[in-house]
C-alpha cells in the first residue's frame, strides 16, 4: 500500500483520540469532521458537562450577568464523537498507542491530539487554600462559587496577583461596589505582560476606580478564624488587610504531569511542538502521530526568532486546533504551519485592552496614537528597530494595521504622523521585570493570509 492509500484509509476509518475537551479539543474535533475525517473520534476530558468558554468566567459571570452554566461553547457542526468525561487522562503509551485514564481504562488510537490546557495555580499553603473564602478562577465551578461569594456582599476582597485575570476580577468587584485590595509582587499591574509604561497606566486605572492597589508586596499568610473562614491577610512588609474573600490569581500550571514517562518533550513550560502542531519527543525529534494544541502547546514562532512560545490566548487555541486537525489528516506535502501573530483581549475598568504580537519580545515601547491620560491609545513595541507587538486601550480597530507591521518586520518606531497624534512620541525602554531572553535582529517575514498559504520567508534586510 502506498502512503496515499494509508492516508485515505486512516481518514476513512482511523482512530483519533483528543485529550482535553475544552475550546481547543472541541474546535479540533469539528475541523476533523469538516475536513472529511469519518473514522472514530474519542473526546477525553476531566470535567463533566459540555465544553464551555472560559473568558467570561472572570468577567460577565462574576458580575452576575451571565450564569456560570451559560457559557457553553456554540457547536459549529455535529462531531459524532464518543465522550469520556469526568476522568482525567493519566498516561500516554507511545509504544502501544494508548491513552491511560485515571480509572484504569485504556483508549487506543492511531493519532492523538493533546489539548489538556492549564489549571489554576493554587495558593502555596494547602491549609490556607482550604479556608472558606479563598478562591481561584479557572473552571465554571470556581466562577460560580466566587460569584456567590461576591453576591453575598463581602466586606473586602483581596486579589492576589495583578495580571489580566486578577485585574479583571478587581474590576468586577468595583463594578459591584465591593471594596477590593490588589496585591502585586511586581511594580505595576499587568507589568509582566505589557511592561512598565503600560503597567503605570493600568495602576492609574485601578486607583481611579477605588482599588486599594499595593505593588511590590508579597502576601505571606492567609489567616482564618475558628470556623475556618478567611479573615485577614499578612504582607511581607508587616502590614495586614482584613478580607473575607481572597482570589488567588497567580497564573496557571500546564497540565503535562500525565505525560511523564511518555517520552515527549513535556514539562512545566508545556509540550514542545513544530509549527504544524506535531509534538516533539525528548530528543527534540518530531513525532508523526502525536499533536498538540492550545494552552499546553509550546510552538515555535518564526517571527520571534523561532522561539518556542506557549500562549494562553483564546484565538491561539482555536487556530492551533484548526492547524493540528488539518495536519492530522493530511500528508506531509499538504500540511499547514501555524504562523499567526498572537492576539488577546481583556476588559477591565471600562477599558477594552487588546494586543497583537508578543509584547515581551521588545526592548522599547512608544505611544503611536491617542492619549495615554485619557486611557485611549495605541502603543507599539519594538525590538532592535522593528515592530514586534502593539497594545490598544479603547482603540482596537487599528490592530490589523499593527499586525501587518509585525508581519512585514516594519521599522520601529513606526514613522509618519497620524491624525490622532500623541503628545509624546519618544520611545522609552520597555522595562519588564525579571530576566529577558532577547536575541538578535529580524530574520523572517510572514506572507499569505489563508491558513493554507501562510509561509515564512527569510528576511536579509528591511524593505525600506
Amino acid at each position: 500500500m502506498t502512503s496515499a492509500d494509508n492516508l485515505r484509509a486512516f481518514r476513512r476509518d482511523g482512530r483519533i483520540v483528543i485529550v482535553g475537551a475544552s475550546l481547543a479539543g472541541l474546535r479540533a474535533a469539528e475541523c476533523l469532521r469538516e475536513e472529511g475525517f469519518t473514522g472514530s473520534l474519542t473526546m477525553i476530558g476531566d470535567e463533566l458537562g459540555e465544553p464551555y468558554d472560559r473568558p467570561p468566567l472572570s468577567k460577565q459571570v462574576l458580575t452576575g450577568w451571565v450564569p456560570a452554566d451559560g457559557t457553553t461553547l456554540p457547536r459549529r457542526r455535529d462531531i459524532d464523537a464518543e465522550w469520556l468525561l469526568g476522568v482525567p487522562a493519566s498516561g500516554l503509551d507511545l509504544a502501544t498507542d494508548h491513552v491511560r485514564l485515571a480509572d484504569g481504562r485504556e483508549v487506543p488510537f492511531d493519532r492523538v491530539l493533546i489539548a489538556t490546557g492549564v489549571r489554576a495555580r493554587p495558593w502555596f499553603v494547602e491549609s490556607e487554600a482550604e479556608l472558606d473564602g479563598v478562591f481561584v478562577v479557572r473552571t465554571r465551578e470556581h466562577a460560580e462559587g466566587l460569584q456567590r461569594a461576591l453576591a453575598a456582599g463581602p466586606s473586602r476582597v483581596l486579589v492576589i496577583g495583578a495580571g489580566f485575570t486578577g485585574s479583571e476580577i478587581a474590576s468586577v468587584c468595583r463594578e459591584r461596589d465591593i471594596p477590593v485590595t490588589v496585591a502585586e509582587l511586581g511594580p505595576y499591574p499587568l507589568v509582566g505582560a505589557l511592561g512598565a509604561m503600560i503597567g503605570e497606566v493600568a495602576a492609574d486605572m485601578q486607583r481611579a476606580h477605588g482599588v486599594d492597589l499595593r505593588c511590590g508586596v508579597k502576601v505571606t499568610r492567609l489567616e482564618g478564624d475558628a470556623q475556618g473562614r478567611l479573615r485577614r491577610a499578612h504582607f511581607d512588609d508587616g502590614s495586614t488587610v482584613d478580607a473575607d474573600v481572597a482570589v488567588v490569581a497567580l497564573g496557571g500550571i500546564r497540565n503535562t504531569e500525565w505525560l511523564r514517562g511518555s517520552g515527549l518533550a513535556a514539562g512545566v513550560w508545556g509540550i514542545a511542538c513544530d509549527t504544524g502542531c506535531r509534538a516533539m519527543d525528548l530528543n527534540g525529534l518530531i513525532t508523526d502521530d502525536v499533536f498538540v494544541a492550545g494552552d499546553v502547546a509550546r510552538c515555535p514562532n518564526p517571527v520571534y526568532e523561532y522561539r518556542l512560545i506557549s500562549l494562553e490566548h483564546w484565538a491561539n487555541a482555536v487556530e492551533q486546533a484548526e492547524i493540528a486537525a488539518h495536519n492530522m489528516i493530511h500528508g506531509q506535502a499538504d500540511r499547514w504551519p501555524h504562523l499567526s501573530i498572537p492576539r488577546f483581549w481583556s476588559i477591565q475598568f471600562g477599558v477594552n485592552i487588546k494586543s497583537v504580537g508578543v509584547p515581551t519580545f521588545a526592548d522599547e515601547v512608544v505611544v503611536t496614537q491617542g492619549s495615554v491620560s485619557d486611557h485611549r491609545f495605541v502603543a507599539a513595541y519594538g525590538y532592535q528597530g522593528r515592530v514586534t507587538a502593539a497594545v490598544t486601550f479603547n482603540n482596537a480597530k487599528w490592530l490589523d494595521h499593527y499586525r501587518q507591521l509585525i508581519e512585514t518586520a516594519a521599522p520601529f518606531p513606526p514613522p509618519c504622523p497620524t491624525p490622532d497624534q500623541p503628545v509624546d512620541t519618544k520611545p522609552v525602554p520597555v522595562d519588564f521585570p525579571g530576566p529577558l531572553l532577547l536575541a538578535q535582529g529580524a530574520t523572517v517575514v510572514v506572507t499569505g493570509h489563508d491558513p493554507g498559504e501562510r509561509r515564512v520567508t527569510a528576511a536579509h534586510q528591511h524593505h525600506r
Binding site: 496614537q369 480597530k397 490592530l399 490589523d400 490622532d420
Partner: protein
C-alpha cells in the same frame, strides 16, 4: 503590484451607462490594485489592499488633509463624524453610540424587531391587492424612512419635505466639477442648509424635554464625554437621517432584485426563514448598497502593497470591487447565500465601520423574509431595472414586480 494609470476604466465605471452592471469593469480595474489617476488621485480596488488601508491610521477622513480639496456641498459649521478623524470622530461616534448600541444601549435593535415587523407587514398589506408593485416606492423606501424617523424622533408627516432635500444632497455627493452643472452643487448646498434648519428646530424643542427618541437623548443626556453641542447634534442627526435612508433602500431593493434573478434561492428562503441571515451577508458582498468611498486623504505618506501614496493625495476606495475579488472570495461572481468566511466590505471596516449596520441588517432580514413569504409568484417587469444616478450609493430607482394573476 504596479502603479499605472487607468483613468479610462474609472471614467467608464462612473458613467451612468455602467450602473446596471459595473462588475466587469471592477474586474478590469483590479488588474491594477492601486491605480494612480491622471489628476494625481489614487483608486484602490482589491480586497487585501482595501482591508489594509481601511485599518491604516495614516488615512484621513478630514477634507482639510487633501492637498487639493474638492468642492463640497457640506457647508456645515461642524462636519458629521463620518468626515472627521480621531480623536474628535471617536468622541462624537461614542456619544451617539451610547444611545444606539452596546454597551450602554444593548437591546435597542432587538427591541425594535416587533416594530420593524409591523411596519413591513403594514406596507405589504397595503399592496396586497395590487397586481403590480414597485418594491422601491411601496416598501424599500418607506420602511427604513419610517424607522429612522421613529428612532430620531422626526415626525413622519414631514417626510415629503425632507425627501426633496435628501435627494438633492445625495445627488450632490458625487459632484464632479468637470462634468456636472453647477446647479447640482448649489441645490445640494441649499438642501443641506434647509435640512439643518429643520433639524435645528427639532433639537431646540427637545431641550429640557427628555423622551426616548435619539434627538432628545442627545440633547439632554450627559455622558462621560459631556453633551454634544446643538451643532454637533444637528450634524449627527443629519448623517443618520441620510445614511438611514439611502443605504437600506438599496440593500432591500438590490436584495429583492437578486432574489428574483435567483428564483430557487427565493423558494428556499420561504422554506428556510433562517437562511435570511447568511443571505443578507452575501447580499452585502454581492450587491452592496454602498459601492465606493469617494475619497479619503493620505495624512502622511501611506504604503499600500508596494505603492507609496504621497501625503495629501485623494484616495478612492472601491469597496464593491473588493468584495468581488477572486483572490479573496471563491467564485466571487456567484450569489451563494450559504457562503462561509464571508468577510465582505459591505459596511466598510475600521473606525468608520457603518454605524447603523446592525439596524440595516435587521431591516433587510425582516423585509426580505416577509417579501419571500408573502409575495406569490413574483416576476421582474424589467431586467435590468432603471437605476439611480449615483455610482456611490448604487441601486434601482424603481423595481417593478408583477405577481400571479397580474
Amino acid at each position: 503590484m504596479t502603479t499605472t494609470e487607468a483613468p479610462d476604466i474609472l471614467r467608464r465605471i462612473l458613467d451612468y451607462s455602467s450602473r446596471p452592471d459595473p462588475y466587469p469593469l471592477y474586474a478590469e480595474l483590479r488588474r491594477t490594485p492601486v491605480a494612480r489617476q491622471e489628476d494625481g488621485s489614487y483608486v484602490i480596488s482589491t480586497y487585501r489592499e482595501l482591508a489594509d488601508i481601511l485599518h491604516n491610521p495614516h488615512l484621513s477622513s478630514d477634507v482639510r488633509n487633501l492637498a487639493h480639496p474638492m468642492p463640497s456641498a457640506e457647508g456645515a459649521p461642524v462636519p458629521a463624524f463620518i468626515n472627521m478623524d480621531p480623536p474628535e470622530h471617536d468622541r462624537l461616534r461614542r456619544m451617539a453610540m451610547r444611545h444606539f448600541g452596546p454597551p450602554h444601549t444593548p437591546g435597542l435593535v432587538t427591541g425594535l424587531e416587533p416594530t420593524l415587523a409591523d411596519i413591513v407587514g403594514g406596507l405589504i398589506d397595503d399592496f396586497a391587492d395590487k397586481d403590480r408593485i414597485d418594491i422601491v416606492d411601496d416598501l424599500a423606501y418607506p420602511f427604513p424612512v419610517t424607522v429612522i424617523c421613529h428612532l430620531l424622533g422626526v415626525p413622519r408627516e414631514d417626510e415629503p419635505r425632507f425627501r426633496v432635500w435628501v435627494n438633492d444632497i445625495i445627488n450632490s455627493i458625487g459632484y464632479d466639477p468637470k462634468t456636472d452643472p453647477k446647479e447640482k452643487l448649489d441645490d445640494g448646498v441649499r438642501a443641506r442648509q434647509n435640512l439643518r434648519e429643520y433639524l435645528g428646530g427639532l433639537v431646540e424643542q427637545r431641550h429640557g424635554h427628555p423622551s426616548d427618541d435619539l434627538l432628545s437623548r442627545l440633547a439632554n443626556d450627559d455622558g462621560p464625554d459631556g453633551r454634544m453641542t446643538d451643532e454637533e447634534i444637528i450634524s449627527t442627526a443629519n448623517l443618520l437621517l441620510i445614511a438611514g435612508h439611502e443605504t437600506t433602500v438599496n440593500l432591500i431593493t438590490n436584495g429583492m432584485l437578486t432574489l428574483l434573478r435567483h428564483p430557487h434561492v427565493l423558494r428556499r428562503l420561504r422554506d428556510e426563514p433562517d437562511l435570511v441571515v447568511p443571505l443578507v451577508e452575501e447580499l452585502l458582498r454581492y450587491e452592496p448598497p454602498v459601492h465606493i468611498i469617494p475619497w479619503r486623504a493620505a495624512y502622511s505618506d501611506v504604503t499600500v502593497g508596494d505603492t507609496v501614496i504621497p501625503k495629501g493625495s485623494q484616495i478612492m476606495l472601491m469597496l464593491a470591487s473588493g468584495s468581488r475579488d477572486p483572490n479573496r472570495f471563491h467564485d466571487p461572481d456567484r450569489f451563494d447565500p450559504g457562503r462561509r468566511d464571508n468577510q465582505h466590505l459591505g459596511f466598510g471596516s475600521g473606525v468608520h465601520l457603518c454605524f447603523g449596520g446592525p439596524l440595516a441588517r435587521r431591516e433587510a432580514h425582516i423585509a426580505l423574509g416577509q417579501l419571500a413569504r408573502r409575495l406569490d409568484g413574483p416576476r421582474l417587469v424589467a431586467d435590468p431595472p432603471p437605476y439611480r444616478r449615483s455610482p456611490v450609493l448604487r441601486g434601482p430607482i424603481h423595481l417593478q414586480v408583477e405577481r400571479n394573476g397580474g
